[in-house]
């Protein structure tokens, strides 16, 4: 180094050094293994995007460790800055490897095979006497090799040629690696310009694809233009079928797809594994549940009349999910004092009574004379959420049971019979509907990702299984015609080449019209 302080590298030198490091296979290999290690962490710690409840639960039970995880981004490994950093570095390293390799491959594809000086110095070498003159012998050899898909170059000065085969190996390997860049482009483009979210539709209702209509969070890409399709999904009916064991057999949402102006486009059945595709969005069956229609009236004044989607309560260990009742909340913020009703739905009342008698949980596969238990609270509503209820500033005033098609008095908690006059507002359980939850997603990158995946696979096969082979043939004049010298080697799959080389020499000799192998064969052997 000519610099006065030899320990300091110039900027140019440092950049060159970083570049060299990135280009080395060792770096790529270490980054690849780091990616694997990071993924292991991501699979062991509950991830917020996959299971937010479990992540929250972990934070509750391990506050200190949880806080550390949260700061280190361990609850969202695959969205963390350091996972992105490893990925980006890996891709930079990949490109740094690929650019010079591609250039070299391009050059060698266009270059003619290089002539050799000493043919008998190669790993495989054989000689044969043939009847043709040297120039003719080489011409025949050229044609034979061409037929076997070798690229052949004749030596302009001597009756000699050089041949090569197996450029597909490097081409395939390059295709495999470049396809990952395409994959990245497809992923970033698709996620960046798309969106995905959940749509909850009660039987008989229509859901419109618009930002405000999504249930919970909607994930929009960074480059999403904000244009939702306005497509309507009218849910005619949801059907679920179970086996007696409680194993689900089929879920189907029978829907009508509507154009933004409300005109029907087509009816469709949406099932698991059978999404609906329309206007660039895809609608998947995600989950389902019960939505009782609840009517609350005070005399002739209707305070509330709507289907309320209930959510299933989490099953404790050993209890089947289907045995759990469903929970929902109705809030009446306009009343003074404010009123909230906490409801528990048993779609199959037989299960309710049986559990009451025996204590054993029973799976509810169908709806059968459904009932709801309820608790009425009065006071001040502090929790604005439509699905949860905070009763810390409220008092329980009544509780009771209401069956489908009946009404209850909210003041006393008693079921109303014909002719009864209620003391307060009434709670009616008019109907029991089902609701269906769809995942709606727009991802325009999918075709790109698919093409990339196909290229990865197609490139992989020659990259692993084909091999580069080089062969040289020379014809020296001799008494009977010429002495054909054949040399060659393979860069990969060398054991197979030994046989291939022997067959090739036989084929050359046959094409040259050599005498029978036994009489003229002069085995020189393999080096």
């Amino acid at each position: 180094m000519s610099s006065s302080s030899p320990s300091r590298l110039s900027l140019r030198q440092s950049v060159a050094m970083v570049w060299r490091t990135l280009r080395s296979m060792r770096t790529a290999l270490i980054l690849l293994l780091m990616l694997a290690a990071a993924s292991v962490v991501g699979s062991l710690i509950p991830q917020i995007p996959n299971s937010p409840e479990r992540a929250a639960q972990f934070l509750d039970t391990h506050p200190l460790l949880g806080e550390f995880y949260r700061r280190a981004g361990l609850f969202d490994v695959f969205g963390s800055w350091w996972f992105t950093l490893i990925t980006v570095l890996l891709f930079v390293s990949l490109v740094a490897c690929l650019v010079p390799r591609t250039r070299a491959a391009w050059r060698s594809l266009r270059a003619r095979p290089i002539q050799a000086r000493e043919i008998d110095a190669f790993r495989h070498y054989e000689e044969r006497e043939v009847g043709l003159a040297p120039a003719d012998a080489i011409e025949v050899a050229r044609r034979t090799l061409r037929r076997r898909r070798f690229r052949v170059a004749r030596d302009p000065e001597r009756p000699s040629l050089a041949a090569e085969k197996g450029a597909l190996r490097e081409t395939g390997s390059l295709m495999f690696h470049w396809a990952f860049i395409l994959l990245l482009v497809g992923v970033v483009y698709g996620k960046g310009t798309g969106y995905s979210g959940f749509a909850l539709v009660v039987e008989g209702d229509t859901w419109i694809d618009a930002q405000a209509n999504y249930d919970g969070q909607i994930r929009t890409g960074r480059f999403f233009d904000g244009e939702f399709t306005g497509i309507g999904v009218h849910l005619n009916e949801f059907e679920s079928a179970f086996r007696e064991t409680g194993q689900p057999m089929d879920f189907v949402s029978r829907v009508d797809l509507l154009a933004p102006d409300g005109t029907p486009i087509r009816p469709q059945d949406i099932r698991v594994n059978h999404p609906a595709k329309i206007e660039g969005i895809t609608i998947y069956q995600s989950s389902f549940g019960w939505a009782p229609v609840i009517r609350i009236a005070d005399g002739d004044r209707v305070l509330f009349d709507d289907a309320v989607p209930f959510s299933r309560q989490e099953a404790p260990e050993g209890v089947p999910d289907l045995a759990m009742p469903w929970r929902g909340v109705v809030k009446l913020p306009t009343l003074r004092p404010q009123v909230a009703i906490d409801l528990e739905l048993w779609p199959d009342s037989r299960a309710f009574f049986e559990q009451l008698q025996t204590g054993e949980p029973v799976a509810m596969l169908v709806s059968y004379e459904p009932l709801m238990r309820y608790v009425v609270y009065e006071g001040k509503l502090t929790d604005p959420s439509p699905v949860s209820l905070d009763v810390r500033s409220m008092d329980e005033t009544a509780n009771g049971i209401v069956f489908a098609g009946t009404e209850a008095d909210l003041a006393t908690g008693k079921l109303l019979e014909d002719g009864d006059t209620p003391e307060g507002p009434t709670l009616g359980f008019t109907d029991l509907k089902q609701y269906s939850v769809f995942q709606v997603a727009k991802d325009r990158g999918v075709p790109i990702v698919l093409v990339a995946a196909i290229l990865i696979l197609v490139g992989l096969l020659p990259a692993l299984y084909s091999s580069r082979r080089k062969v040289w043939v020379r014809a020296e004049p001799s008494e009977g015609g010429s002495l054909l010298q054949v040399g060659g080697f393979a860069l990969q799959r060398k054991a197979q080449f030994e046989e291939e080389f022997a067959r090739l020499v036989d084929a050359l000799a046959r094409a040259e019209g050599a005498g029978s192998d036994d009489t003229e064969r002069e085995e020189v052997g393999t080096r």
Binding site: S39, G42, Q247, M249, R271, V272, L460, L464, K494
Partner: protein
């Protein structure tokens, strides 16, 4: 035949296969110990009996359940055991003419089936809706074929590491006996050491090397492991891609870092690392083999742990 009879036949054939594999395993280990050709022939015949019974069990299971017989962990395990034994007989004994791996391959299948019948058994029945897709035929098949080959490759890798260690200690012993000349060592530790005849990159795989009941040379085992893993890798790649296509159809996204997806990616990444390591100076040999071994462990986690202990979208495939 009725559904119940098919189910019974499947279970009986499963037990026959398990015990035949167990017997064949003992036979192969006996062959390894005593090196008698007769023992090998007998062990091989018993392995073929097991293979046939295993196949019968799988086919009968399909008739009993009225669907493809690979819809849950028990069925995967049966198919995996079948493919490992078949893969061993066809690839290792057929192509590479090696018999020393037999006991280990059979041991893998015996353990797989024993775990399946003890902990994972479920009666034949229809699939949950999420699995009801023609992709189950493609994705699951590819995953099991890939797994079985990776498993064989993993077994060869373990034996390579064992044999390599043995050969190295033999070199050390030779060194101790015969002091090195003044300049450098008598044997260069970094160069491939020719102790067992042909230690070129493609050692003689045919005649002789598999005859006696000892492990083949490390270089041969390394080569076999590499070949099998290079065969498995594109199949695994295809399985992951097919899984992504199915996930796109079923769950609305081709990739979501679900534990099964994550672990199949980890397995893929590690074996990709292994293939690259073999082409990287300073990583060939033991280091690359250790990566393959880690890949084998990742495969087992992908196969068992994710379905049984880690909650995710693949949990239904218990």
């Amino acid at each position: 035949m009725t559904t119940l009879q098919w189910a019974r036949l499947s279970n009986d054939a499963f037990n026959v296969a398990l015990f035949a594999y167990l017997g064949a395993m003992v036979g192969y280990f006996a062959y390894l110990a005593f090196g008698r050709d007769g023992i090998w022939k007998l062990a091989r015949a018993v392995a073929f009996v097991g293979l046939t019974a295993n196949l019968v069990s799988i086919v009968a299971r399909g008739f009993a359940a009225h669907r493809v017989p690979w819809g849950n962990m028990y069925e995967y395990s049966s198919l995996l055991a079948l493919l490992v034994v078949a893969g061993y007989l066809v690839i290792v004994e057929g192509v590479y003419k090696q018999r020393a791996l037999g006991g280990f391959a059979l041991m893998f299948s015996v353990l797989t089936m024993a775990v399946a019948v003890s902990f994972l058994y479920v009666g034949p029945g229809p699939l949950v809706p999420a699995l009801n897709s023609y992709w189950i035929k493609i994705h699951v098949q590819a995953a099991i074929w890939g797994s079985s080959l990776f498993a064989l490759g993993g077994i060869a890798t373990i034996l390579y590491l064992v044999q390599d260690r043995r050969e190295r200690s033999r070199i050390d012993a030779l060194r101790a006996e015969d002091p090195a000349p003044i300049m450098g060592g008598a044997i260069d530790m970094d160069a491939p050491v020719d102790l067992v005849g042909d230690a070129s990159d493609e050692p003689a795989l045919a005649e002789g090397s598999g005859r006696r009941g000892v492990l083949p040379p490390a270089a041969t085992l390394d080569r076999i492991a590499y070949r099998i893993i290079a065969f498995a890798f594109p199949i695994w790649t295809f399985a992951v891609i097919a899984g992504a296509i199915w996930a796109q159809e079923a769950w609305g996204r081709y990739w979501g870092w679900d534990p099964k997806e994550t672990w199949s990616f980890i397995t893929w990444t590690i074996f990709a690392g292994y293939l690259h390591a073999r082409a990287t100076s300073g990583w060939r040999g033991r280091k690359a083999a250790v990566i393959a071994l880690v890949g084998f462990v990742a495969l087992l986690i992908t196969y068992y742990a994710v379905n049984l202990w880690i909650v995710g979208l693949h949990s239904y495939a218990k």
